[in-house]
Amino acid sequence: MGKVRSFVIERLNLLGGPFIQIRRGDYPKRWDLMMFESILCQVTEYDPEVLESLIGLAVEIAR
């Protein structure tokens, strides 16, 4: 099993607020899920399943 590095994100933008800097090595438990839930809360006028599916597709394109 390969190792997964956790420092790939250095900044997040939660709920349209100011950028939160996350220093390397700081890895709040389950922060990734928190980020995604925040994004979906921002755009409640759209079906979260559709939006999450589109984000997933964008991630596949990015990779």
Binding site: V43, D47, V50, L54, G56, A58, E60
Partner: protein
């Protein structure tokens, strides 16, 4: 969205049945990944139907909030999200996925982190700290043995 954009080439998604243009359609996802190599944006309905591909976004407004360092595709998505009710999803050249809503950047996603979450790497994870680097090593999963 369609009224505020124009095609850059003959639309490759035109003329197909709606059922084959839904984002959940696996065949479509492969097609979209190929078309993403071309210039222009996709327009997707709120139901998740891909309406058009390779479109030039022609909306301009001063009421956008785009951080310095982001280029024209981000500005185009931010503008479009400001003048319509659309959500802009941008794949940057650096592979970061950004979301724009009402002209503002509302989220940044690093693909690796998204994949970590969606690959269900949770559960028992060994954590090692080497200087500033945190290494998470998921436990090997037990494969069910067929009887």
């Amino acid at each position: 969205m369609l009224a505020r954009s124009r095609p850059l080439i003959l639309d490759p998604l035109s003329g197909h049945p709606e059922s084959s243009l839904h984002v959940a359609n696996l065949n479509l996802r492969g097609t979209i990944k190929e078309l993403a190599q071309l210039d222009g944006a996709f327009v997707v309905s709120r139901e998740g139907i891909f309406l058009s591909a390779c479109r030039y976004l022609d909306a301009v407004t001063a009421e956008v909030n785009v951080p310095l360092g982001l280029g024209s595709r981000h500005i185009a998505a931010a503008n479009m999200s400001a003048v319509t009710k659309a959500v802009g999803i941008v794949v940057s050249e650096s592979s970061v996925v950004r979301l724009f809503c009402h002209g503002h950047l509302v989220g940044e996603i690093i693909p690796e982190v998204w994949m970590m979450d969606h690959a269900q790497l949770g559960g028992a994870v060994k954590r090692e700290q080497v200087g500033e680097l945190t290494i998470l090593t998921p436990s090997l999963r037990q494969t069910p043995i067929a009887k």
